[in-house]
């Protein structure tokens, strides 16, 4: 009996942590349990979930994608620069006509897709480890973004004055449910289907779990890796566009270090850094844990620097507990 409880607790450690966190905060301040708070936490989590789902793809093959955060920043700046109000005094492109909303969004997504392809190409064609390949891309993307951001007449001024239809995407909603949450849910469902129901996803798990086995079973490993990175890049870009829309602006520092948050959320959510293991709900819960920490600890008035220390402890201890599932019993 005792053993069964212990097994159960290890199996669902992350869910237990999430629930304990919520209970703990609620004891301190019962007003935490409210629809508004939950909505805020979910809104905060939406873009993070989209980024983490991209990062999870790379973790699945035993790599880490460091370019995620900077691609979020690039997407925020590019989309914002193309979607400012016509009468705003400091426009990025003063003479830019009013484009239909989907054109700037598509352009931005294509840029992220392209950088993702670049990552995938370098990793699959030249066998550069993902950590290094994406380290390079991260630096390049930041450089490119900063050059773009510094173009006259903008000269590195924060981009603001976004079009109503665009910021509506980040702040509006339907039936009281914010669009960002709806988009995150849709993307989560799509990613769940991709990973669990398509041969692409199943092959990724196989490649991550045992690459040689995948090769001799006739899986085109290189092609899968190429598309995996492209998909990841696309997801980061979507998140970046939503970040710009939600916050009503962008600078070249948007998304800084988001890749580390995303990787932390994945490992806390049960993804193995050696690859081949992880679930989509795990990613969602991993992200939620961090959002609850961020929001909840601020809610009960804990110093943000202390929050960092708590966050660090949670990352390490959650993984220490979770990894027990995979350790061979001796």
């Amino acid at each position: 009996m005792n053993n069964r409880i212990k097994n159960y607790l290890t199996q669902y450690a992350i869910y237990v942590v999430l629930i304990l966190l919520i209970i703990g905060i609620a004891i301190k301040d019962p007003t935490f349990i409210s629809l508004r708070v939950f909505r805020d936490i979910l809104v905060q989590s939406s873009t993070r979930i989209i980024i983490a789902l991209g990062a999870a793809l790379v973790i699945l093959i035993g790599g880490a994608d460091l370019s995620a955060g900077r691609l979020v920043g690039l997407a925020a700046v590019v989309s914002a620069s193309l979607l400012q109000m016509p009468d705003y005094p400091r426009r990025f492109f003063p003479d830019l006509p009013q484009l239909p909303l989907w054109i700037p969004i598509l352009i931005t997504i294509l840029i992220g897709f392209g950088f993702g392809l670049l990552n995938g190409f370098v990793v699959s064609r030249f066998s550069v480890p993902p950590f290094i390949a994406t380290l390079g891309t991260m630096v390049i993307v930041y450089g490119a973004n900063s050059i773009y951001f510094n173009l006259p007449p903008n000269n590195s001024q924060p981009i603001a004055g976004l079009r109503k239809d665009f910021s509506e995407l980040g702040t509006g909603g339907i039936f009281g449910i914010p669009y960002v949450i709806i988009i995150a849910v849709i993307i989560t469902i799509i990613m769940w289907i991709v990973l669990n129901k398509t041969s692409f996803g199943k092959n990724l798990y196989a490649i991550g779990g045992n690459r040689e086995a995948a090769v001799v079973s006739g899986v085109d490993v290189k092609r899968h890796i190429l598309w995996l990175f492209a998909l990841a890049g696309t997801l980061y870009t979507i998140a970046g566009i939503l970040e710009a829309a939600r916050t009503g602006g962008a600078t070249n520092n948007y998304g800084n270090m988001y890749e580390l948050d995303a990787i932390a959320a994945c490992v806390v959510g049960g993804w193995s850094v050696s690859g081949g293991v992880g679930t989509v709900p795990g990613v969602v819960v991993g992200v939620l844990i961090f959002s609850v920490i961020n929001y909840g600890l601020t809610f009960i008035g804990i110093d943000p620097y202390w929050q960092l220390i708590i966050k660090g402890i949670i990352i390490v201890s959650a993984v220490a507990v979770d990894i027990r599932k995979y350790l061979a019993k001796k």
């Binding site: 398509t198 798990y205 196989a206 779990g209 045992n210 086995a213 995948a214 001799v216 079973s217 899986v219």
Partner: protein, 505 residues
């Protein structure tokens, strides 16, 4: 053999790796519907040849003719498309995925009518069930592979190879993790496949298996083909001498040791895991070789790993030289004069990218730390040189990376590593696995000499002749229990086999 046509011809295949000519003008012809065995020592080129056939390597020269048509195979997918499938010797499955996904990996059945390209899990489940039922394998398609035993995983590999509807199936050491009954089952399967016209290329070190199942045998040595024979023309001695290239009169050195007082005593050792070793008691004497026999899954390795502090113990006591000791880690075990040569040389033995010097001195490194907390390199080199000479390790220099040595020489370096710690009890887990006949004899000689010096050896071995030839006493395990201990004089293969399956229904 009704059909005398060659379904497959590999003509004049050569393949060179930096510094090694792995295949030198090799020709192999396989008839349809036969079992064609390939034998040879390690490094003879058997696996390399098969990897050329399966598209993992590309031959430098030569041609492959399948059904009378010349083909070129660039990767495994093409090989599979040509109807050639392979059971790999050292390939582990995707452990965190289920059985059916492992079997249909690379060719999942897809749903016909849906918006996206989705995998048809229902069909995959049914196909797997059908496939496994046809092979009389009782495994659930949705079981995670990591929960399966080694022999079940081997079955999955076999089922997978068959599921390609291949005309040629390459089996590289398919019985390495199967029990006697399972081997019989596999051979039945092979016979059924033969009747359906499938050709099997069968690689094995086990000579008795070859006599049982193979129609023809091709023997390779040093990357060349020695010849191809009808199995009926061959005898065990003929095969060995053709493999080694010389007559082997003695496969084991003569042992005339006189075991002394008890050095190690184990009482009722029991594992905390339910399916592992239970109530094992035995004694080891000074200068003795105690063999441990048993089938895969008999928990022999688990037992010695527990002795060495790698696994935990629920109950039981260990005495060394009459004094009770508690061993919680290999560090404790080393302090008590024990050494363990693990079963998996590649994964838990060698440091492949380090050289001979580092590999030899790593277990004893503290001895070489001088007053400035630095390593005394001269002493390390002297000790290593002495060991290399004493054990006759064939290496160009001490700076050679261990991965560039042959299996036998790697094993000698590992022995050297542990001998430098001056152990009194050496535990050797399958010390000659994957080592060719010549090097085996040298390892046996070293073991012999060590016991002459008063060292004691526990040797796990799955090879009956090795147990009978080297051990002073043989203890046999079955399903975690000690099923009996036989003296050298009374031991026979039949007695060992009977003890090894004592508790299996």
């Amino acid at each position: 053999m009704t059909n005398n046509e060659f379904i497959l011809e590999m003509n004049n295949i050569s393949k060179e790796f930096p510094g090694v000519k792995a295949l030198d003008n090799v020709t192999l012809k396989v008839r349809a519907g036969t079992v064609h065995a390939i034998m040879g020592e390690n490094g003879a080129g058997k696996s390399t040849l098969m990897k050329c056939l399966f598209g993992i390597y590309e031959p430098d020269s030569g041609e492959i003719i399948l059904n009378g048509k010349k083909i070129s195979i660039k990767n495994s997918k093409e090989a599979l498309d040509y109807g050639i499938s392979m059971i790999h010797q050292e390939l582990h499955p995707v452990r965190y995925r289920n059985v059916m996904e492992n079997i249909w990996l690379g060719r999942f059945p897809m749903k016909k009518y849906s918006l996206f390209k989705l995998v048809d899990e229902k069909k995959m489940y049914q196909d797997t069930e059908e496939l496994l039922a046809g092979l009389k394998i009782d495994i659930k398609p949705t079981e995670l592979v990591k929960n399966l035993s080694a022999s079940k995983i081997q079955y999955i590999e076999i089922a997978k190879a068959i599921s390609y509807n291949a005309k040629i199936i390459i089996m590289d050491e398919p019985t390495s993790s199967l029990t006697e009954n399972e081997v019989t089952h596999l051979f039945d399967l092979i016979r059924t496949l033969k009747k359906e016209g499938v050709s099997i290329i069968y690689i094995s070190h086990k000579i008795d298996e070859i006599f049982e199942i193979a129609d023809e045998v091709t023997i390779m040595r040093d990357g060349k083909v020695v010849g191809t024979w009808d199995t009926k023309e061959l005898t065990e001695d003929k095969i060995i001498s053709k493999m080694v290239g010389r007559e082997m009169t003695n496969r084991f050195p003569i042992r005339n040791s006189k075991p002394g007082e008890v050095i190690l005593k184990v009482e009722n050792l029991t594992s905390p895991l339910p399916k592992s070793f239970k109530n094992v008691s035995f004694e080891l004497r000074k200068g003795e070789i105690l063999g441990i026999g048993g089938l895969v899954g008999s928990q022999r390795t688990e037992l010695v790993e527990a002795l060495f502090g790698l696994r935990s113990i629920a109950s039981g006591r260990i005495f060394i030289k009459g004094k009770e000791v508690i061993i919680r880690s290999p560090i404790d075990a080393k302090k008590h004069g024990m050494a363990l040569l693990t079963e998996e040389r590649r994964s838990t033995g060698i440091f492949p990218d380090l050289n001979i010097l580092e590999n030899t001195t790593i277990a004893n490194i503290k001895k070489y730390v001088n007053h400035f907390l630095l390593l005394n390199d001269r002493e390390r080199k002297d000790d290593t040189k002495q060991m290399v000479n004493a054990l006759k390790v064939k290496t160009p220099s001490l700076k050679t990376l261990i991965k560039d040595l042959s299996g036998g020489n790697q094993q000698k370096v590992l022995l050297a590593r542990w001998l430098l710690t001056s152990p009194e009890i050496l535990i050797l887990d399958e010390p000659t696995r994957g080592i060719d006949v010549g090097a085996k004899y040298e390892i046996y000689t070293i073991m012999n000499e060590l016991t002459m010096q008063g060292k004691s050896i526990i040797m796990i071995s799955s090879e009956m002749p090795e147990l009978l030839g080297m051990a002073d006493r043989i203890m046999v395990m079955c399903e975690g229990y000690l099923s009996g201990i036989l003296d050298k004089e009374e031991a026979t293969e039949e007695k060992i086999m009977r003890l090894a399956s004592k508790y299996t229904n």
